[in-house]
């Protein structure tokens, strides 16, 4: 973690930070992965230093925005000085080194699953009265809160194995003669949320297909989800054509704002048995793969078995206009309450760097994200042809590095399902 501020709030980016960035560019190794803390006042030149690494195809730096993350942490009860000291756990969850027993990734809520349940509940209720889109939305948000409550219950009693070594180097453990497993200064639980974009797109599609255009009733739609839109290619096409998150289209982005707001406050007032709070986030870890298997097709036209996008990113099968619209859409919601960690991921085709000023232009895109209140971003340079060639001839691409999600790895060492997911990601944004 480079950059950011000191415990008393002064700019901490110094010559050493600069040298570290330069050295990474020369070494071109997968590790250590660089995280760079920035804020509104960070000059473009620092973003350009970071972008030089992006240009090398290293899959980092990952950027974190102090303007969002520090207020998020203080909102969850972290002391301001500690909050200013934040770093990331292995991938992206924010933590304070040395003084926390936070479990950043204890569980996750499947937003697509929440919507699926909500649609079934509302469709069952049919006949009671005239259904409205607001009924669907209200049930969806209620389901998110129910699942949040279930998580609170599920982790009432968490036992952790003692960790004498970590305890020895963590603040307070020795002085209090208490192992870290019994709690540290901070004992919060981080909760991921998967499939945000798929859920938003599905909600937008339900509004358009069922309520605005009235092409299908809600219960018919539920049946179609169970049968993968069998026999109704017209409705599948209509679902795919409905507004999607990532196109700077308010018809989808307004729903994203509402969803993120509900999620951000789903755990308000809830405490775990160590007195810690629950930190909702936009990360997915491995859950995006598992959760996608738990649900049937979704109303956005995603067929059964197809994956969600990882973390905070447009759905995989959605044609987006380009990275500027993606940044715009994904910074519409207030991200402070959902800053457990989980980046917006953007792929840039390597031709962006053909001209020398490409670095500046890509750096401007990152700065735009930060200036608009984005929380965390990772930006990767990638070339689809290279990836396909690497699948066919791994021996020619031993050094090809890609960002998978929280981590970068050598492409040829990845499991085929991850390779395919990355290629798919690139197809859409290329």
């Amino acid at each position: 973690m480079l950059g950011g501020v000191t415990r008393d709030g002064k700019c901490a980016f110094n010559d050493l930070s600069r040298l570290c960035l330069k050295a990474c560019g020369e070494l071109k190794l997968v590790d250590p992965k660089i995280n760079l803390r920035v804020d509104k006042s960070t000059p473009l030149s620092i973003f350009e230093l970071g972008t030089e690494l992006t240009k090398e195809g290293l899959g980092f730096p990952q950027y974190a925005n102090d303007d969002v993350v520090i207020p998020a942490l203080t909102r969850w009860g972290y002391a301001l000085e500690d909050a200013r000291d934040y770093s990331v756990a292995a991938c992206w969850e924010f933590l304070i080194p040395g003084c926390g027993m936070d479990i950043n990734n204890i569980d996750a809520v499947n937003f697509v699953g929440c919507l699926d349940t909500a649609l079934r509940i509302v469709a069952q209720r049919r006949g009671d009265a005239e259904l409205s889109f607001d009924d669907v939305k209200a049930e969806f948000f209620a389901e998110i809160r129910r699942r949040a409550d279930a998580i609170v219950e599920k982790y009432r009693h968490v036992e952790i194995l003692p960790g004498p070594f970590v305890s020895a180097i963590s603040t307070g453990c020795v002085a209090n003669a208490r192992d870290l497993c019994k709690g540290g200064r901070y004992n919060n639980f981080g909760i991921h949320g998967t499939g945000i974009a798929v859920a938003v797109d599905s909600l937008a599609s339900v509004r358009e297909l069922v309520f605005e255009k009235q092409l299908v009733t809600l219960s018919e739609l539920v049946t179609l989800l169970d049968t993968d839109f069998a026999g109704r290619p017209d409705l599948l096409a209509a679902a795919k054509a409905a507004p999607k998150m990532g196109n700077a289209d308010s018809r989808a982005d307004d729903l994203a704002k509402e969803l993120v707001d509900v999620w951000g406050h789903a755990f308000d007032g809830k405490k775990n048995d160590r007195g810690g709070v629950f930190r909702p986030g936009t990360g997915s870890a491995m859950y995006y793969v598992w959760h996608a298997r738990e649900v049937p097709a979704s109303a956005d036209g995603r067929l059964k078995g197809l994956p969600f996008s990882a973390n905070y990113a447009p759905s995989l099968d959605v044609p987006v206009k380009g990275p500027v619209s993606v940044v715009k859409s994904f910074t519409e919601p207030d991200l402070v309450p959902v800053s457990n960690g989980g980046p917006l991921t953007i792929e840039i085709h390597d031709s962006a760097f053909l001209e020398p000023d490409g670095v500046t232009k890509v750096a401007q895109l990152v700065k735009y994200f930060i200036d608009r209140g984005g929380h965390q971003m990772q930006i990767n340079t990638i070339n689809r042809e290279t990836l396909l060639d690497a699948q066919a001839h791994p021996e020619r691409h031993r050094h090809l590095i890609v960002r998978v999600w929280g981590w970068s790895g050598y492409f040829i060492e990845l499991d085929k399902c991850f390779q395919d997911q990355i290629i798919k990601r690139v197809e859409l944004k290329g």
Binding site: A248, K321, G322, P323, V324, S325, V327, K328, A352, L354, E355, D357, G358, K361, V362, Q364, L365, Y368, D371
Partner: protein, 237 residues
């Protein structure tokens, strides 16, 4: 007013200063043997859009364009073939956002009046220069290029900054003779920012079959074009 648009692409990085949004207009009166975008040539194709729709599309991310010193580039096809539409879009954009910059990428094939009216509104012109003479244009692009040469001559004195773009096609215009000719043509323009030599895109033929057209460009597309620099005589002061 409506126009035909091939594509609106955002975050284009090689179409002028700063990151830009490029509006590709449908239809081109030329038929360059090496055109890598044949589906953009027909005037009936593309998508019909109003000037308002195009402007709205651009405005959505105009804060980024303005904040980064970028703007809008009109390309094609041949944007000057829909000059009225281009002007209408600019008009709308100007009213909504006064700090965008405008650029146009053009073959220069248009009447003098149209060319001057549009170029006068631009902050930058990306001017294609394919050949130094009428014969090259006639043989390889199928048009009488008198208007192109007239327009380039006017551009050199217009004060509007321009970049000359030369597509280098192997065995067609990558000869020393052709390049010297282009250099002479461009000499003495104080507003010429740079000359870009664009190598022939070897995948150019890929899209023709899909359109039911054959691709027989009449030159050896596999040869690497000579990209050695063009020497421009400095402007006499």
């Amino acid at each position: 007013m409506t126009g035909r648009v091939f594509e609106i692409r955002e975050f284009t990085l090689q179409d002028g200063p700063g990151p830009r949004t490029t509006v590709f207009l449908q239809g081109c009166p030329l038929r360059c043997a090496w055109c890598h975008n044949p589906e953009g040539q027909e005037f009936g194709g593309g998508r019909e859009m109003t000037d308002l729709e195009v402007a709205d599309e651009v405005i959505k991310t105009a804060d980024f364009l303005v904040g980064s010193g970028g703007g809008v580039t009109f390309s094609g096809g041949e944007p000057l073939s829909q000059a009225g539409f281009v002007l209408a879009v600019i008009d709308r954009l100007r009213r909504a956002e006064s700090h965008l910059t405008y650029a146009i990428e053009t073959s220069g094939f248009a009447s003098a009046e149209v060319y001057r009216e549009v170029v006068a509104k631009m902050d930058l012109v990306l001017q294609d220069v394919k050949f130094p003479d009428l014969e090259g244009y006639r043989r390889w692009t199928g048009v009488d290029a008198s208007s192109i040469f007239g327009n380039i001559a006017w551009l050199k004195d217009s004060g509007v900054p321009f970049v000359a773009r030369i597509p280098c096609i192997p065995g067609v215009n990558d000869t020393r003779e052709a390049k010297d000719g282009v250099a002479r043509l461009l000499a003495g323009a104080p507003n010429l920012l740079k000359v870009e030599l664009l190598p022939y895109n070897r995948l150019a033929g890929a899209k023709y079959a899909k359109l039911g057209r054959s691709y027989s460009p009449g030159f050896d597309g596999n040869r690497v074009p000579d990209l050695s620099p063009v020497k421009i005589v400095p402007s006499p002061n």
